[in-house]
Amino acid sequence: MAYLELNNVYKTYGTDENATEVLSNINLSIEEGEFVAIVGFTGSGKTTLVNLINGLLEPTKGEVLFKGKPVEGTSHERGVIFQNYSLLPWLTVEQNVLMAVKEAFPKREKAVYKRKAAYYIDMVGLTPAINKLPKELSGGMRQRVAVARALSMKPDMIIMDEPLGALDALTRGTLQDQILNIWGKDKRTALLITNDVDEGIYMADRIIPLRPGPNATLGPEFKIDIERPRDKTAMNDNPNYKKTRNAIIEYLMDIGEERKSQVSEAFLLPDLAPKDFVNQFR
């Protein structure tokens, strides 16, 4: 039995004539301790998929199983790093993290909470900004607070929705390593949503592309057979790395082309195209 399982999951927003099926027939299984990355184009439904897994959304059809049980609502076992940080603007960095710590570890002493919060804030290098409000932070700093908040709850599984999108390459690299560290230390399970193939290859055991929506489905998976700990510079010479990277990018470019041609054909030949003509590209 897989740690996390999605079986024939469909997600439709809206009802009746306004209904759009964003995700269709998603099948995914992640083993305990695995690190899986999902890459996809913008708007393809990545956040929707994440919210189905963390319990903020319910599938229209199909089932989401976590440790063999259906996901019903959110849980402290699954930590989330939101794409848009979602920090509470009226709380300082420390208070934002403290709030999560207190919820995850009820009935401890105040000093314990403070120490835990300080530990995770230090881990993301924000100790100097501990008493600042989110609006006084840069985008990257906010993202790091969100990372600290999610990790401070010590979740069994970390779900990250493009967590490093707003960061510069250098900070990005450090945080990638920190996330890998934490993931490796207690052998947690991780799901990373990203639009950066290299990030996926550096961090994940498997990369799964999400095909563009509507009706987005998961593409074929790509296994990353590179030994850990990985080294960014050494990896460049690894023949395995080059092969996998090329394969993934080729696949993504193909579906990108497909999407473009679908759109342009549909516009160029609105009346002449028989229904099947458009459908055959799907």
């Binding site: 963390n54 939101f82 509470l88 009226w90 709030m99 919820e103 409000l133």
Partner: protein, 368 residues
């Protein structure tokens, strides 16, 4: 490498040199800017106040002349030339018995203002003397379990101001105590929202006079046994009910429109309902709640005058009404004094709420 460093140094130097000359230029320009700002922020308002006073003076003079001529004309038509001459002489002499009763001039208003202050000083002195005189007796009465004797003399203008402020704040806190919790419940529950919506829509536009009558009907019956003067209770309750709608609507709007991201955070952290309301929903709707409270306070102050007048509750409203009924020579001037006082206090209350509002809004200020 070395070259680039020195080059950098030199450019820095040059940059600084350039900057310092530029700075002079800039400060010169700044002074000009300052001068302009001074002109705009000080000279223009002062000039407009003077212009306003001038126009007011001329207008009051014109109205005075119209009324004086009318009086002389009337005397001439009704009683003949001699009476008309008498009237003209009387008006010119400044005798209070025959002065035209019209819009007072700025100087008359200023005089009235000073006489009101003098009056206040007299009454305060009187009160203090009374207190001193009755202190020993009151102590004895309290010891015997009787009510102390209180000063029952005429309130001064300043006393009226403080009574009005007391009424308005009592009404404001009543509005706050009703509207904020109710608004939170309405905002949290769509069912309550649809239950209350018609209620809000219908009662929001009802005029202060009608609110007063309604409160009068109810409070009069409730206090039927009590010998107490119910006018204060009636007026502050009516003020509260009139003014609470803005807070009610804003609070429920703020609570029901909390950013979805924050709600998601609450869900992911699995906050309990109590925590969710107090740690997420309330803080994020505080700015809107305070916007509502600011409107409520200014509405409360505006309707207060009308309600005090109706309720015969002591305060500025009653002061204005009594002066109007009184028809004394300087009554009109006193009414205008009251008008300015009402306006200035309203403005100050608004500023007070604005600064509180800025203080709680996390977008602009530092901390809650």
């Amino acid at each position: 490498m070395k070259q680039s460093v020195t080059l950098g140094k030199v450019t820095k130097f040059m940059g600084l040199g350039f900057l310092s000359t530029f700075k002079d230029l800039f400060t010169g320009k700044l002074e000009k800017e300052d001068y302009k700002a001074f002109l705009r922020k000080v000279i223009v308002p002062v000039a407009s106040v003077l212009l306003f006073l001038g126009l007011w003076h001329l207008g009051a003079k014109a109205l005075y002349n119209v009324e004086a001529e009318f009086r002389i004309e009337k005397a001439l038509n009704e009683q003949g030339q001699a009476a008309a001459d008498d009237m003209a002489a009387c008006i010119a002499s400044g005798d209070t018995s025959c002065q035209p009763n019209t819009l007072p001039s700025p100087s008359q208003v200023w005089t009235s203002f000073q006489s009101l202050l003098n009056d206040h000083a007299l009454i305060s002195a009187d009160k203090a003397a009374f207190k001193e005189k009755t202190a020993a007796l009151n102590e004895k009465r309290v010891a015997e379990g009787k009510d102390p004797i209180v000063y029952t003399g005429r309130p001064s203008f300043v006393d009226q101001i403080f009574r009005s402020l007391k009424t308005v704040f009592a009404g404001f806190f009543l509005a706050l105590l009703i509207a904020v919790p109710l608004g939170i419940f309405i905002g949290l529950s769509p069912t309550l929202k649809s239950a209350f919506n018609w209620f809000i829509q219908i009662f929001k536009p009802v005029s202060p006079v009608v609110w007063y009558l309604l409160v009068f009907m109810i409070v009069k019956t409730l206090l039927i046994d009590s010998s107490e003067d119910s006018s204060f209770s009636i007026s502050f309750i009516a003020v509260g009910l009139c003014s609470m709608w803005a807070t009610l609507v804003n609070t429920s709007m703020g609570v029901s429109s909390v950013d979805k991201d924050y709600i998601n955070v609450a869900k992911v952290l699995k906050l309990g309902n109590f925590q969710k309301v107090f740690k997420i929903i309330l803080p994020s709707s505080l700015p809107l709640i305070f916007t509502g409270l600011k409107i409520t306070l200014s509405v409360a102050w505006m309707v207060l005058i009308a309600i005090e007048l109706l309720a015969q509750s002591p305060g500025l409203g009653l002061f204005v009404w009594e002066e109007f009924q009184n028809g004394a020579n300087d009554s009109n001037a006193k009414i205008i004094v009251a008008m300015f006082v009402i306006g200035i206090i309203g403005f100050l209350l608004d500023r007070l709420m604005l600064s509180i509002q800025n203080w709680v809004s996390f977008e602009k200020t530092d901390a809650i």
